[in-house]
């Protein structure tokens, strides 16, 4: 069975009628939004039954204007046999960004989740070693969140207007 956007979505919808919240196509790439509480079941199903054995990437994105679902955890999955890739997203509240770990599904998720924790503060429940990985251990903030500006906001010599920003 060749995998297409429709077949993947259909399989997911029939198996998890409640966990699949939303789907869209962007640049010929399927985006599927899932219920964060059921991420592990969905990911396991995708690996074991639809053959998505390769976790291409795991990262997060912060959208502060979406209240209650500010932080999105993004999985890029790849079925190597069929050569089909798509994206799974789970949106979490910024106040309590907790999601189950995917390390039991793909060993490679380990450091990718540590990186996501390091930069966004997403807590992956059941992760064997959830520590900071690239930043220093005593850092107190999660730097890729949008509330932390890149440049020092107290400086007056760098006026954004002069830089077209």
């Amino acid at each position: 069975m060749a995998l297409t956007h429709d077949t993947v979505l259909e399989q997911l919808r029939s198996r998890f009628p409640e966990a699949i919240l939303h789907s869209e196509l962007s640049f010929d790439f399927l985006n599927v939004e899932i219920q964060p509480a059921q991420n592990l079941e969905v990911l396991r199903f995708l690996r074991d039954e639809l053959g998505f054995i390769y976790l291409t990437d795991l990262c997060a994105v912060h959208m502060p204007e979406q209240s209650g679902r500010e932080i999105g955890v993004v999985y890029h999955l790849h079925n190597l046999e069929e050569n089909y890739r798509f994206r799974v997203k789970a949106w979490l509240p910024e106040a309590e960004p907790v999601i189950a770990t995917a390390t039991t599904v793909w060993a490679g998720a380990n450091w990718m989740e540590r990186e996501t924790y390091d930069f966004f503060g997403v807590r992956f429940e059941g992760h064997p070693d959830l520590r900071r990985i690239l930043n220093v251990d005593h850092m107190e903030v999660f730097p890729l969140l949008k509330q932390f500006p890149l440049e020092d906001t107290t400086r007056e010599d760098k006026d954004d207007r002069f830089f077209g920003r």
């Binding site: 962007s26 640049f27 790439f29 985006n31 054995i53 390769y54 976790l55 291409t56 990437d57 990262c59 994105v61 912060h62 993004v74 890029h76 190597l80 050569n83 890739r85 994206r87 793909w106 060993a107 490679g108 380990n110 450091w111 990718m112 990186e115 930069f119 900071r132 990985i133 690239l134 930043n135 220093v136 730097p143 890729l144 890149l150 440049e151 830089f163 077209g164 920003r165």
Partner: protein
């Protein structure tokens, strides 16, 4: 039957806790080619466990990118895998082009293929030559570094820089290949293969080298896939995943080449896969160079491609575009795009979210080194200390790409 008892009392047998030596390998150890720290638990000469610490040269690229116009992100990508910077640059250009839905002319594709394959050769040459150094064969390294130098000379002809190249632009190249480049490339294609085979003959069937690398640091195909390995390291384990073939970009479908695979995923297989990839890259470069299509060296997208300098001085239109592009006043369409290229270390991915502004809203680099280096403790467990050094060297872990 009476239970056997130790002469030291039963407590002695129960305590399986052995005392291990702790060895700090790195962060500035001369054998690790970069800033890597590993705290090893050693039982004599055998590694029982390893605890890598990374992030020593973390430069917050993903945060930096959120405040830079798109063309200013290119120099950031240089500093990921600095052994093959052009692949990173061009991968980023193609990601933005995908978002803009710009169609590049065939000529740009072919020029890019030539540059990217040269970069792959340079990267693989350094990796394999350094593997020779780590196993005690310094000679090959000195010769192959000269060849890499010639590739860097070619970058210089195209972009003016050697290591952090910032090569090309969104939409193509700033100028066509110069006569100097043509001369250097022809010269390289004529003389490099023979010198490379000489290097190959020094190591490939060398008994000392083979004894040193076979069955060192192996990984099975299942584990490699589970760890999201990519590139030569995955192919050495026997999985024929190559982005150039699976999801062709930049007209790679026009070229006929072999994807070499290994069987056991050990250091020797990784070495051999890289050696063969260099030959295949040469084949691709020859094919691309001999069939170079006619056309422009840039795509038709004046909003993003800097106009010619002469035009900037003489035409109002060009001056406006020049100003807008340089000041980063051009907004990109909103959208979400993932694009990946086959970097020298494997699938190098760019996950770009644009909210329609002048800078990326979020940019994530899928850095193959970062992802496969986490398997390192598993690969060196039970091996000798000196094997750990050559395993790392054959995995081609580049600190810049690891730490972003």
């Amino acid at each position: 039957m009476q239970e056997q008892q130790s002469i030291f009392g039963e407590d002695f047998l129960k305590t399986e806790e052995k005392q291990y030596n702790t060895l700090n390998l790195g962060p500035t150890h001369p054998a690790t080619h970069g800033v890597f720290q590993n705290v090893l638990q050693m039982d004599g000469e055998i590694i029982m466990s390893a605890e890598p610490t990374i992030g020593y040269i973390h430069r917050a690229f993903e945060k930096l990118a959120e405040r830079r116009p798109f063309y200013q992100v290119t120099p950031i990508t240089d500093r990921l895998n600095y052994c093959s910077a052009p692949i990173n640059n061009i991968g980023w250009h193609m990601t933005v082009e995908k978002l803009l839905q710009v169609q590049t002319p065939k000529k740009v594709d072919y020029m890019r293929v030539i540059i990217m394959e040269l970069a792959r050769i340079a990267d693989h040459l350094v990796c394999n030559a350094v593997l020779g150094v780590d196993t005690g064969a310094l000679t090959g390294f000195t010769y192959m570094f000269q060849e890499r130098e010639r590739i860097y000379d070619m970058y210089e002809e195209v972009a003016g820089a050697r290591l952090t190249t910032n090569i090309g632009r969104i939409g193509g190249f700033e100028r066509d290949f110069t006569p100097g480049f043509h001369k250097k490339l022809k010269d390289f294609l004529a003389t490099f293969p023979a010198r490379f085979e000489e290097f190959d003959s020094m190591l490939t069937r060398n008994r000392i080298f083979m004894d040193r690398v076979i069955n060192v640091g192996p990984i099975s195909a299942e584990r490699a896939i589970s760890y999201s390995f990519a590139g030569p390291n995955l192919r050495a384990a026997g999985v024929d995943y190559d982005v150039r073939v699976m999801n062709p970009y930049s007209s790679y479908q026009d070229f006929d080449f072999i994807v070499p695979v290994g069987t056991s995923g050990d250091t020797y297989d990784r070495f051999m896969v890289r050696q063969e990839e260099i030959r295949q890259s040469l084949k691709i470069i020859n094919a691309a160079y001999n069939n170079m299509p006619e056309g422009n060296h840039f795509a038709d997208c004046p909003e993003f491609y800097l106009p010619k300098k002469e035009d900037v001085y003489t035409s109002m239109e060009a001056l406006i575009w020049h100003f807008k592009i340089v000041m980063g006043e051009v907004d990109l369409p909103a959208g979400e795009v993932y694009h990946s290229v086959e970097g020298a270390n494997g699938e190098l991915g760019y996950y770009l979210i644009s909210d329609g502004g002048r800078t990326p809203y979020r940019l994530h680099f899928r850095r193959p080194c970062f992802i496969y280096y986490q398997a390192y403790p598993e690969m060196i467990k039970g091996q000798m200390l000196s094997d750990a050094v050559i395993t790392m060297s054959s995995m081609n872990v580049i600190a810049g790409e690891l730490d972003a």
